[in-house]
């Protein structure tokens, strides 16, 4: 069969295969290492050393995804369908807690709400005593819920905005009460968005390291981290268990998206508005509470730490370790590392996106599945696998402590985020346009440069932006394999928090949050509708 339009160029296939192998490498290495280590993951699985962390991981993940599903959906419904005041403001503020890495959020909660924090100081002034300690399961649940609910809120709000109000109006005319309409019409149509968001949160919760580390809640990822140096076989076996758990979640997700039904993309001109009546103050209090706890509180405490530190220094106390140069280098490293990871991810995922969209190639399908599933791989596993690889093998030792290894790890962790945007970008270049360019004499280099790249640019930028944002906030990979002379804002902030250098923690976290806030605004909030 000769058919140049369908045949995929060999170069694309080779590129896609190499990238696929790269994405599969960390997980493959972990599994292989277990066999050669004789670390006996099955034996470890049934020992009480594992069952505790495994059960704690599951308990936390179930609780967090349930609470985010409820809160996120409620917030989405209130801000898209009800007559709450300041709708636009809520819509702008509610996704913003995404800017906090969970460890910074958790640290802020600890320092604000625990005895000796901002809250107890205020209550002291009023003559009240506050001695609730936020730690463990409750602390980890609170932190993860507050800082991951936007993963449910964003897709559900996007879906609700697209749902034609006419279905709800019809149900009302047929005699349903508002609550019945929600149950019979709205929920069924948003169910896929809710479950997709909740599943993402579940995945986030099982792989989270920052919040559980600070809340001292011993889940799998924390147990892997603490045993990595003195008990590697256990650390490895726990890693495989976490890997299997993540894989199971991905399989469930696949099964769920197969049944995914597209809502008609109708943008109703005047969406239905439910009058809240006497419930309005409760709704406003709910939204305000979420924004206060997840956004304003943490920001206030970051500012509080910084101001406290500066005041202490001014009054002759300890010198702050940070001068301008000290701030500049980690900030630059964070920006540079995440930009590099974004560019590499977009460039390397693009061949697979081409194969899937343009050529419907089998290699493309496999590459797509691999790249997207790697997104479920917890960062701690990627970091650990690559760390051991550089320590135990000759080939790997050349890459120890290099930026190349770090960027590669970031790409495996977050490259999948660019897959969908890249596919949409490739699909946006109609084959008619490339056909037209061919009849006008343009060869593929010119077609790519003058036609496809400019047309794909918005989509590729969006994908790259998501990667940048994620890399900035990433903790475990950065902790485990960032070069020693490559301090980033996350490692600086995390170490300051762990060593209780409160003022420095405030500054590093503050810079990081501002940077990621800018990116979140550009790539997440403004494009919220694309999340559906």
């Amino acid at each position: 069969m000769r058919s140049p339009t369908i045949h995929s160029p060999a170069l694309l296939k080779v590129a896609a295969i190499v990238v696929t192998v790269g994405f599969a490498f960390p997980a493959g290495y972990l599994v292989w290492r277990n066999f050669t280590f004789h670390s006996d993951p099955l034996g470890v699985l049934f020992s009480h050393r594992t069952q505790g962390p495994l059960l704690r991981t599951l308990r936390l993940a179930v609780l967090v995804s349930a609470s985010t599903a409820v809160f996120g959906t409620a917030q989405a419904w209130l801000t898209t369908r009800c007559d709450v005041p300041l709708k636009r403001t809520w819509q702008a503020l509610l996704p913003l807690p995404l800017v906090f890495p969970t460890f910074i959020g958790a640290a802020a909660l600890i320092r604000t709400l625990n005895p000796g924090g901002l809250l107890s100081d205020w209550l002291d002034n009023l003559g009240l005593v506050w001695d609730v300690e936020i730690r463990g399961l409750f602390g980890a649940w609170l932190a993860l819920t507050l800082f991951t609910y936007p993963y449910v809120y964003l897709p559900v709000a996007a879906r609700l905005r697209r749902l034609p109000g006419s279905a709800e109006e019809t149900a009302r005319l047929l005699g349903d009460s508002p609550l019945t309409v929600i149950r019979r019409v709205v929920l069924p149509q948003t169910a896929t968005a809710i479950s997709a968001g909740a599943l993402l949160v579940f995945l986030y919760a099982i792989s989270d390291f920052g919040a559980v580390q600070l809340m001292r809640y011993d889940t799998l990822s924390r147990a892997i981290y603490t045993t990595r140096l003195n008990n590697q076989p256990v650390s490895m076996a726990l890693s495989v268990i976490l890997l299997v758990l993540a894989a199971a979640v991905v399989l469930i997700e696949r099964g769920a998206t197969r049944r995914y039904e597209h809502a008609a993309p109708v943008r109703s001109r005047s969406p239905v508005v439910y009058r809240m009546g006497r419930a309005k103050p409760i709704a406003v209090a709910f939204l305000a509470g979420a924004v206060a706890l997840a956004l304003l509180g943490p920001m206030a405490s970051l500012a509080d730490w910084t101001i406290d530190g500066i005041r202490l220094e001014a009054s002759g106390g300890r010198d702050l370790l940070v001068g301008w140069d000290d701030v500049w280098s980690p900030t630059w490293n964070t920006a540079y590392g995440s930009l590099l990871a974004a560019v590499v991810s977009v460039a390397l995922v693009l061949p697979a996106a081409y194969l899937v969209v343009r050529h419907r190639s089998r290699i493309g399908t496999v590459a797509n599945a691999m790249i997207v599933s790697a997104f479920a791989l917890p960062g701690i596993l990627i970091g650990l696998a690559l760390l051991f690889w550089t320590l135990k093998t000759d080939v790997g030792s050349h890459l120890r402590n290099t930026l190349v290894l770090l960027v590669f790890a970031y790409m495996v962790r977050f490259g999948g985020q660019t897959m969908r945007t890249s596919q949409v970008a490739v699909a946006a270049v109609s084959s008619r346009l490339t056909d037209a360019a061919r009849t006008l004499g343009a060869r593929w280099v010119r077609r790519f440069r003058s036609l496809e790249l400019p047309l794909m640019a918005p989509g590729l930028l969006a994908g790259g932006g998501l990667v940048m944002l994620s890399v900035m906030k990433e903790l475990p990979i950065t902790l485990l394999i960032a070069p020693f002379d490559f301090p980033t804002l996350t490692t600086k902030a995390f170490n300051s928090i762990e060593e209780a250098f409160v003022a420095e923690a405030g500054i590093w976290s503050g810079v990081l949050v501002v940077l990621s806030a800018v990116l979140t605004w550009i790539f997440v909030v403004r494009r919220a509708d694309h999340f559906d």
Partner: protein
Amino acid sequence: MPVADSAAPLLSVEDVHKSFGATKVLVDFNLTLQAGEMLSLLGPSGCGKTTLLRLIAGLEQADKGKIALDGNAVDGHRSWIRPEDRQVGMVFQDWALFPHLDVAGNVGYGVPRRQRIEEVAKTLELVNLPGMQERTPDTLSGGQQQRVALARAIAPKPKVLLLDEPFSNLDAALRREVRSEVRELLRDADMTAVFVTHDREEALALGDRVAVMDAGRIVQTGSPSEVYHHPATPWVAAFVGAVSMYPAEAAGSTAETDFGPVPLIEPRQGPVEVAVRPEDVDLRAAEGERATHTVENFEFQGADAVVTVANPNGIRLRVRVSGTQSFSSGDRVAPSYIGPPAVAFDRS
């Protein structure tokens, strides 16, 4: 009609086969085109017209057969020239303008850099859009976009220009206007063109020659009037214009019907069907024995009207009458044939 038949054809398509999976799109396809000629390719949707254009342009590759351009094989046994090297221009059905480039960027895309500014200005002049260089495609009207697409295709001076239903995205009133404009323009530029359409009026108006296609083959080629007045098959007769197939008894160069004699192009004997165009019949009110038919339906269309009449056996005849004439259902009438010699086919 330009260029003698003896000259070597500019484009030849020989015994070309093309299938997509199990679907045979083109079967043993043959076509030649002389330099300067404009060919209309007329056929129903899905008959393989667009695939043929894509094969000529090189956007698809033939399974079998040979395509030659200017005497050189571009697609055939051992030769394959890529579309970017063929110098074949194409105007796409949806025009496929590059949305991120302005008009100058679009029109100049296929022109070497050094001549670009000059050529763009000249071509825009030609398509009647002077000074529009800096407009972007989304600020142009449908007709203007169509002309930009045409300008883009002819600016690199292709050997052949292929037009794939280029007017189907325009509304009816604009279509006629743009159509004659394009014909003039291509004629002035001495352009060789293949023009694909499923609209018979468009095909007859635009082509020096019309090729009627059905199910992957050419059923008939000829001048527009040949195809209209001397269709090769009943299907062609019906596809290029309204027609009634009327039973008759042929005896040499005339055929006798129940409303009188019809002259035949070619002598025939015995029972036949004659292809009668609505405008070739005159209709008068009649009474008694002279009234052979009864009016079934009268459809007023402005300048004229179409009347459907039937004989006592229920065999129908469509007749075009002047808009000033008026009939009602049940009127008794006498049709008579007033047109040129007609074609007769075997009774089906």
